[in-house]
């Protein structure tokens, strides 16, 4: 096993926090559909995806714990918004299924590329996790792609319009996934992660092809303002209420077993 220098720790922690917080908050948002989905079969499918996301968050908080951070429950349920490193995309409330599906697609294509790039990471815990979750993420992308193509290209005028509007709303938020951090260069140089710029390029290529198959119009990335800030702890008004809700029970007896 490669021993990583201690100086790398802040960069590693930052990467793990960004990934884990994204997965936790999006999993939480997805889980809000449980029992309220558009059809029983989809309710079941989407709940599995939500569970996978929360499972990934848990799996990412563990190496953080090994790097000296508190245990996963403490990290996930007791921090407040400024300590979170998730992007704004995952914070927004669900709204309609159009918004949820489009967010799911744009997020999971990025996840698939991110984990793909991490399979060859020098940081073994991440490389191992990337190989382990490959199948789950593949299903998430398959699920999202099918839905968006069907509702965009094979549905009604109404569903096409809804998906187009959802795309326009979600796209700037999704660009916020790739907010460059001060650690990007170091992580790339050390062979841990090639960086957000590389990720965004790959992502845009895949997304463009799916969106084209869905007969939708991708906004010009040059003309939209990416929703940055999340990676620096600056969040939307929606995150703190979500965290208060998520922590309501566990924080009522913080030292008890639940």
């Amino acid at each position: 096993m490669t021993v990583l220098p201690v100086e790398l720790q802040p960069a590693l922690k930052d990467l793990l926090y960004r990934m884990a917080d994204d997965a936790l908050i999006l999993g939480h948002r997805h889980s809000e559909w449980t029992g309220l989905g558009p059809i029983l079969e989809e309710d079941i499918a989407f709940s599995s995806i939500a569970q996978d996301k929360i499972g990934h968050a848990y799996a990412l908080y563990q190496p953080l714990h090994e790097l000296g951070e508190p245990d996963p429950d403490r990290i996930a349920f007791f921090r407040d918004a400024p300590d979170f490193r998730c992007c704004h995309l995952v914070e927004y409330p669900n709204g309609g299924y159009d918004f949820s599906l489009m967010r799911h697609l744009l997020f999971d294509v990025a996840e698939q590329w991110r984990y793909h790039l991490l399979e060859s990471s020098r940081y073994e815990p991440l490389a191992r996790l990337a190989r382990k979750v490959r199948g789950e993420i593949k299903y998430h992308v398959f699920h999202a792609t099918q839905w968006v193509i069907q509702l965009g290209a094979r549905g009604t005028e109404e569903s096409h319009q809804r998906m187009q509007q959802a795309l326009e709303r979600v796209f700037p938020l999704a660009l916020g996934i790739f907010e460059v951090t001060p650690y990007d260069e170091l992580l790339a140089a050390e062979g841990i992660f090639p960086g957000e710029r590389v990720l965004q390029e790959r992502w845009l290529e895949t997304i463009s092809s799916v969106i084209e198959q869905a007969t939708l119009q991708l906004p010009d990335p040059q003309t939209v303002v990416p929703a940055y800030g999340g990676r620096r702890g600056i969040h939307t008004e929606y995150l703190q209420p979500l965290l208060d809700e998520m922590g309501e029970v566990i924080r009522s007896e913080p030292d008890a077993e639940w």
Binding site: E32, L36, I39, L40, E41, E42, I44, A45, S47, S48, Y92, P93, N94, G95, G96, D98, F99, Y139, F142, H143, Q146, W147, Q150, R154, E237, Y238, E245
Partner: protein, 154 residues
Amino acid sequence: MGGMWHLSSELAGSGMSAPRTVTIQSLDPRINRLRIPAELPEFTPKPMLDEWEPYEVFWKEKPGDQPVHVGTVRAPNPEMALVLAKEGYCRRGKTYTIWIVRTADIYTFSPDDTDIFATVPEKTYREPDAYKVVQKILRLKRQQQRERSSEEGE
């Protein structure tokens, strides 16, 4: 804009211009976010096929297995049937793969015709038990022995 811009128009109208209606107060914060009017709107029944067509799901636990029929899903087309059947029937345990087929494309006998499978018991010539080869071999061996000993005696 208020915090509810994201809600679909059927429910909350669009943001600030939405009329203030009395909504259901639930213990479930998810339900409160849906802002459901306390007065139930008129109910319009859903049309047939609103929940799409039935597809049958066949499941293989591991390579080499026969596919087993495990149930059904409603889906608008085969691609979506696969997407939806996967978590419906394979979220626990191991799965190698699944097959799906539109229920309307499956042909079977009418329940009244299942006696078509009743066959007379005399057709033993196609059952392995009907062939008592071992006894014949024993008989053959005894015969060979008898023949050998009578040859030696000559």
